[in-house]
Amino acid sequence: MYLNATLLAQITVFIILALFTMKYVWPPIVKALDERAAKISEGLAEAERGRQSLALAAKHSAETMREGKEKVADMIAQAEKRADQIIEEAKVQARIEAEKVVAAAKSEIEQEAARMRESLRGRVADLAVAGAEKILRREVDAKAHAEMLAAIKQDL
């Protein structure tokens, strides 16, 4: 319970110690704490961003997948359609071709028939003349009756 100059010494020491703490102890720790807090909040924001971009990417990939599927289905449908068309065209082509062949054959047959008829006509005329010669035997003047024979030939 005795007061003396120790009091003053104590005040001085007190202030010096407090100033030391203020300058060398407090700021580094508080700085470290603040920096760590900033790091953590940054990390959390980063994680949040990552989660969002992941969700976005998932959505995007699903979208792409769906589009791809649609495209493929479209292509298949188109290919089928095209195949049908090609088959149809081939059928038409084949029919036309067949008709052509048939027509050519027909005309050839007709030509053949005409030639045959021509040759038959000649032969018939000869036969007729020969027949008539035989019938008439004696007096058929080929010259005198040539005109008549030609007219007969024409009628055949």
């Binding site: 319970m1 005795y2 007061l3 003396n4 100059a5 120790t6 009091l7 003053l8 010494a9 104590q10 005040i11 020491v13 007190f14 202030i15 110690l17 407090a18 030391f20 703490t21 203020m22 060398y24 102890v25 407090w26 580094p28 720790i29 508080v30 700085k31 470290a32 704490l33 603040d34 920096e35 760590r36 790091k39």
Partner: protein, 289 residues
Amino acid sequence: MATGHEAATSAPNAGEYVLHHLGNLNSSGHPQTSMVDFSIINYDTVFFSSVLGVIGLFLLWRVARVATSGVPGRAQAALEILIEMVGNQAKAIVHNEQSRKFVAPLALTVFVWVFLMNSMDFLPVDLLPFLWQTLTGNPHAYLRVVPTADLNGTLGLSVGVLLLCFFYNIKIKGLGGWIHELFTAPFGNHPLLYLPNFVMQLIEFTAKTVSHGMRLFGNMYAGELLFLLIALMGMAFPSMSPFGGSLLWLGHLVTGTLWALFHIFIVVLQAFIFMMLTLVYLGQAHESH
């Protein structure tokens, strides 16, 4: 009877023992007799408080110097807990960002320093005095090792806080503003009330400072005294009959242990209270009535 007489001559009696332990190692060479004498200085209080303050702050500085914002080590984590605790209290009490840059470290200093000074009580009461007496060769050399059990030590702190209160009062309110407040608060602004107001303010500042210092001093002084009495109880055992002596020895063991354990609580609590009151008083200096 013969053994008791022998003990009394070789060792001081109880009263002398306690009084001797309560005498400071001061510049006058003998315990101070007048209540206030500023020509005397207590070497022991100044020495132990300075050494403890330097050791405590050196340890904190060692940790703070290599502080990292990455994963902290254990020492740094402990210091961070301490600083966050003090910082949060300061934030809640002192509503001034600029002032907190000094006030919060000041509160940390107070807490750590007072804690260390109080902790000197855990050393056996006779250890350092005995070493000192052996070292100086003077069996009657005085030494008190608990700076906070010296009124100069605790009032030194509380007066320091008072001076800082004056400083912040003037800094925040301006000299005129503060003087105006001294005469118009707490009763109101009226010429008749100027004097009562001022008297009230004087009483308030005095009461705050004295109770601030006295509270810590009283606790530590009482703690020290109790340790001395417990030590006396143990010391008395050779002079008693074997049965009574062993009871006293056991009593010393049990009470000494219990009081030391309880004192751990008091040491931390008083350091915390001293810190909180420092913040509260400095916070009040920032508030206008």
